[in-house]
């Protein structure tokens, strides 16, 4: 594990606020917390992607491998035009992110299972995938807290994977894992910007 031993404790504290019942809270604090977590996640996304590719063999492990054409229908893409992104209101912005990270947590779980089967002898990769999933869940909780603070409705959790996930071949599973770890990085980057914007909008 690359993150310090105290990291799980930090994550725990970050997870706590949404569970705390009570009076309306200022959005600045959950935004700040979510922003900090997103920044922390951002530092590890490229490591996760590189570790993942390294264990999959050619072409994934080839230097400079990139396949932007590979997409997953079950995972919304993070790419969006700046104009559209900037025009989003708080509800849409947080809703998109919420939906994406909900999908990402489920996909990361799937990729973790796939890799436990395909690469059982690589605990580093499995640990990084598990850590990424936990952080995505933590960010989800923070976003829910923001939405609560802003008085926005929290979208219900959905099974984004559906029934198509099973029966994929080993190569397809490798590709799927690549798309998930790549999009996890993209969505984390976008979340940092989303939260920075909200942070500016709702100063403490």
């Amino acid at each position: 594990l690359r993150f310090p031993p105290a990291a799980p404790l930090c994550l725990l504290t970050l997870l706590l606020p949404p569970l705390r019942p009570g009076a309306p809270i200022s959005p600045a604090e959950p935004i700040s917390q979510a922003y900090s977590l997103a920044l922390y996640m951002q530092k590890n996304t490229s490591t996760l992607l590189q570790t993942y590719l390294q264990y999959q063999g050619s072409p994934f492990s080839d230097p400079g491998f990139s396949a932007p054409e590979l997409q997953l229908s079950s995972l919304p893409p993070a790419t969006v035009s700046f104009k559209t992104w900037h025009a989003l209101d708080d509800g849409e912005r947080l809703g998109h992110a919420q939906g994406a990270f909900l999908a990402l947590t489920q996909h990361l779980q799937l990729v973790g299972d796939d890799q436990r089967d395909l690469n059982p002898g690589s605990p580093i990769l499995l640990a990084q995938l598990g850590a990424a999933r936990l952080r995505a869940q933590g960010l989800l909780g923070n976003m829910a807290a923001i939405m609560t603070a802003l008085g926005l409705p929290i979208p219900p959790e959905e099974d984004t994977l559906g029934v198509v996930a099973f029966g994929a071949s080993a190569f397809e599973r490798k590709c799927r894992g690549y798309v998930v770890t790549r999009e996890y990085g993209h969505w984390t980057d976008r979340a940092v910007k989303d939260l920075a914007l909200l942070k500016a909008k709702y100063p403490g």
Partner: protein, 903 residues
């Protein structure tokens, strides 16, 4: 994989074609069929079915042996299409087969199917592009032959479509060849359970996809067991009903199955359990009864058990015993008080298959009384008139002690006085005791005691006579293995010999050691790890009389290895002369000496090329050459280096040597021999200088007086000392000396040859004339003084000789000695000068007053006419000389004697 249900005759032939006009394979399938039976036949196509359309048709024929050849085949069925492609969906690119699992070395056919043949598709196996066979515009087939095992997570093969960048691929799981189980074996420990084991061989390399399974099948019973472990399996035997077993171990994974067989009789595969309950009973000093139990095998099966007895790590006894249930063995010939380890194992007696594991236990035999007397020796010292005896003994060996020695008993028996015994009990592990005894004779008995009994006594007698007779010390040469000592056999009865020595002679505690030897021994080798090179060890050899009295026979001394001296003595130089010097030293060096001193080496360095007799050339470690004197006598403490060059510089260094060599070269001492003449010169010059110095000081101190006496500025004839002498003696009225007063008896005129004089003292401006007035006895009326005139005023020698008037040489030996020494000096300086003075000593010694009054005549004026020739001689001088009569001897004698003596 194709699967077909067919209704066919006894033999079928199936033809499988990729396309109708290109049949790829044809296979036969034979079976016995019944009427209306539905057959199921599966086979696998080399080319994945997804790659292209496959067609299949079949026909059947009878394969009955009763029907002779040629057999007749029925008609082919119509082609039937296997259409898997239609279910592929609409992916732009697909690669088949998916997740193929193969053994390494096998051939795999892969294809891609694209929806559009306008695209450029390239395919790669592990990053290396591969080229295939275009089956149709949209399908390309790749034949991968002899695929290798690369990694346990599979080998990627993928195709990339341009444009669009679509990537599709497969993972080819290549396993290593599945090996046959090795060393398949079954055995039973109790005839109830069979335990079968095998070596599964190398792993297939795939982590999860290919976990092998193992199945055990016994053909007689028809039973089958699926093994849960990959290397062993248990089987419940039926000893009562089944004796023979025929096992088939089948190992398999998805790719391959392998089988091994084993047929055996159950009773021939008995591997007994390890014996248990090993006990030792009735353990005596030499025997023990060993018992054990075995696990029963069947009904009263006999086991063969093997017992091994270990003593001090070695097998000392090995025995086989037949056992049914309880084993027993009497172990004999043991040593007392010794720990033994016994171990036992068993095997089936009638059909040996395998020994059981060992079961071991240890036991210790009982103690017995010590068998040997301790080896005892003594050291006798005299402390303040008392006899102090230190008694030493060596601990008994384990074999001798036969138990744990608890204490030693020392019994003192006074042999001279009334028979008294004194007992001392010294607890172990002490190995010595000190006894203060009087000067009586004592006999000492020492015994060692353990819990069982007492050892025989060691006896040693201390006689009244100390017995330290003078024995000459002989040298012995040691080696690193020890000292080989030998001694003369004793004519009288001896019961043994003792050799004693100090293990650490430089240590005050000495650490006395001894060696007891039998009466017939006259030599031994003393060796010890404590012996060090360069340490002198002293050995004393004692004979033990029949009365157990030790008496000193011989003394030996030596080194295990002699070393060269480590330092050199201090050398003093003495008796340094022009040709020799003497070296003396205080002997070398203080104790301890690292070897026997053999002598000394003297190194002498000089400028001379040749070495002097008695020395030889030697090259020093620094490369310089010098002469070396060998002094063979180690007791020599002086050495005279002779035949040296005077006033020469020498360097020397003295070093002792032993048999191991010389001491280290140190600093050379410098010495310079004396000059040959310098000593003589010093002997002469020093007194002379002292004498001159004395005279100079005297002259300086009395300069005024001298001036007045010898050369006043204005001489006063009335103050002439001569006159005063005359006046005081003869005529007080006379103040001026008259010639008439001096009545010459005879005048001798010595007219020196002028030439000779000139040649001697050329600087002399005048010709001296000597007038010796020799008074004639009797005719001389009074005590008139004898006066001699000589003008010494301009004579250097005369002026120097001023001073107290010396008496006759014979009367003043000290002055004579002075003269003698000055004569020597003169001799040394030059004879010419001595000669020039040698003619005047008479005048010189008698001269008392020298004046240069301008009197042309010598003597009274009236005497002038009477001495016509005289003025010619004395005209230039007026010389006065008065000889004090009180001091001088009668003038008639002294001048004559002196004159004769000097002329």
């Amino acid at each position: 994989m194709l699967s077909r249900s067919i209704k066919l005759g006894p033999k079928c032939k199936v033809e499988h074609c990729v396309q109708r006009d290109s049949c790829k394979s044809r296979e036969n399938y034979s079976t016995t069929v019944k009427w209306n039976q539905v057959l199921r036949w599966s086979w696998e196509s080399q080319l994945p079915l997804e790659c292209t359309q496959h067609f299949v048709r079949m026909r059947s024929g009878a394969a009955d042996a009763q029907i002779p050849e040629p057999r007749f085949w029925g008609d082919w069925t119509s082609w039937e299409e296997v259409a898997v492609q239609s279910s592929l969906g609409h992916h732009p690119l697909s690669v088949f087969p998916k997740d193929k699992l193969v053994e390494e070395g096998s051939n795999v056919t892969v294809c891609y199917v694209s929806r559009s043949h306008h695209n450029n598709i390239s395919c790669y196996l592990e990053g290396i592009q591969i080229h295939g066979e275009q089956l149709d515009p949209n399908v390309c087939v790749f034949h991968l032959n002899n695929v290798p095992f690369i990694r346990d997570t599979g080998t990627n093969m993928y195709c990339k479509m341009d444009p669009g960048g679509v990537i599709k691929g497969i993972v080819l799981f290549v396993s290593k060849v599945f090996e046959e189980p090795k060393d398949f074996s079954c055995e039973t420990r109790d005839l109830k359970t069979l335990s079968c084991t095998w070596d599964p061989g190398k792993d297939t390399g795939l982590l999860t996809q290919l976990s092998p399974s193992y199945t055990l099948f016994e053909s007689f019973s028809g039973k089958k067991v699926i093994c849960t472990h990959k290397s062993w399996c248990d089987w419940q035997a039926a000893p009562d009903s089944q004796e023979m077993y025929n096992f088939t171990l089948t190992a398999g994974n998805d790719l391959r199955k392998r089988s091994v067989h084993l047929l055996f009789n159950l009773t021939h595969r008995v591997h007994p359990m390890a014996p248990f309950n090993v006990l030792f009973k009735n353990v005596s000093p030499t025997n023990a009864a060993m018992t054990w139990r075995v696990h029963s095998i069947g009904n009263y099966s006999t086991l063969l058990c093997q017992v091994e007895l270990y003593g001090e790590g070695k097998v000392i006894q090995k025995q086989n015993v037949s056992v049914v249930a309880n084993g027993e063995l009497l172990v004999r010939n043991l040593e007392p008080y010794t720990e033994y380890v016994a171990q036992v194992r068993c095997a089936h007696a009638s059909h040996f298959w395998r020994w059981s594991e060992w079961t071991r236990d240890n036991f210790t035999t009982a103690e017995a009384a010590p068998s040997e007397a301790p080896d005892v020796w003594r050291e006798v010292k005299s402390v303040q008139g008392h006899r102090v005896v230190t008694l030493f003994w060596k601990p008994l060996s384990k074999l001798q002690a036969k138990g744990k020695i608890l204490f030693y008993n020392v019994v003192l028996e006074n042999l001279d006085g009334p028979s008294t015994m004194k007992l001392l009990s010294i607890p172990a592990p002490a190995n010595c005791t000190e006894l203060a005894l009087d000067h009586h004779s004592y006999q000492i008995h020492v015994t060692a005691n353990n819990s069982v009994g007492t050892s025989p006594a060691a006896v040693i007698t201390l006689s009244r006579d100390p017995g330290n007779k003078d024995v000459e010390e002989a040298r012995v040469k040691g080696t690193k293995d020890g000292f080989s000592l030998s001694w003369k056999p004793q004519p009288r009865d001896v019961t043994g010999y003792i050799v004693e020595w100090c293990e650490h002679p430089r240590d005050p505690r000495c650490d006395l050691q001894w060696k007891s030897l039998g009466p017939n021994t006259t030599s031994t080798v003393v060796s010890s790890d404590a012996f060090r090179p360069g340490v002198r060890y002293n050995f004393r050899i004692y004979g033990i009389s029949t009365e157990r009295i030790p008496y000193l026979l011989e003394k030996k001394t030596g080194y295990s290895q002699e070393l060269a001296p480590s330092d050199s003595p201090q050398v003093h130089i003495g008796n340094l002369t022009a040709s020799s010097f003497t070296l003396s030293w205080k002997g070398w060096p203080a104790e301890p000496q690292p070897g026997f001193l053999r002598g000394y080496s003297l190194y002498l360095k000089s400028k001379a090329v040749q070495c002097l007799p008695g020395s030889e050339k030697a090259v020093l470690p620094d490369g310089s050459v010098c002469c070396k004197y060998k002094i063979d006598n180690p007791k020599q403490k002086t050495f005279v280096v002779q035949n040296l060059q005077p006033a020469s510089f020498y360097e020397f260094f003295l070093t002792p040597y032993t048999s191991a060599g010389e001491g280290p070269l140190g600093t050379f001492t410098k010495v310079t021999t004396q000059d040959e003449y310098s000593r003589i010169l010093i002997r002469i010059l020093v007194p002379m200088i002292l004498c001159i110095l004395l005279l100079t000081i005297l002259c300086y101190l009395k300069s005024q007086w001298m001036k007045e006496k010898c050369y006043p500025d204005i001489p006063d004839p009335y103050k002439s000392s001569v006159l005063s002498l005359i006046k005081s003696k003869e005529n007080p009225r006379l103040t001026i000396m008259n010639v008439k007063d001096c009545v010459p008896d005879a005048i001798e005129v010595i007219n020196k040859r002028e030439g000779a004089r000139k040649s001697l003292i050329e600087t002399e401006p005048t010709k001296p004339t000597y007038l010796h007035l020799l008074p004639t006895e009797k005719s001389y009326p009074g005590p008139g003084p004898c006066i001699c005139f000589e003008n010494f005023t301009y004579n250097q020698a005369a002026s120097e000789s001023c001073g107290p008037v010396p008496g006759p040489p014979k009367e003043q030996p000290s002055q004579l000695g002075l003269l003698t020494s000055s004569e020597n000096v003169l001799k040394a300086l030059g004879k010419t000068y001595v000669n020039s003075l040698g003619e005047i000593p008479a005048g010189e010694t008698n001269l008392n007053y020298v004046s240069q009054l301008a009197s042309p005549l010598c003597g009274d004026k009236s005497s002038l006419p009477t001495n016509p020739p005289e003025p010619a001689l004395c005209s230039e001088y007026k010389m006065q000389m008065a000889i004090p009569m009180g001091l001088a001897s009668p003038p008639s004698i002294t001048p004559l004697d002196e004159g004769e003596h000097y002329h």
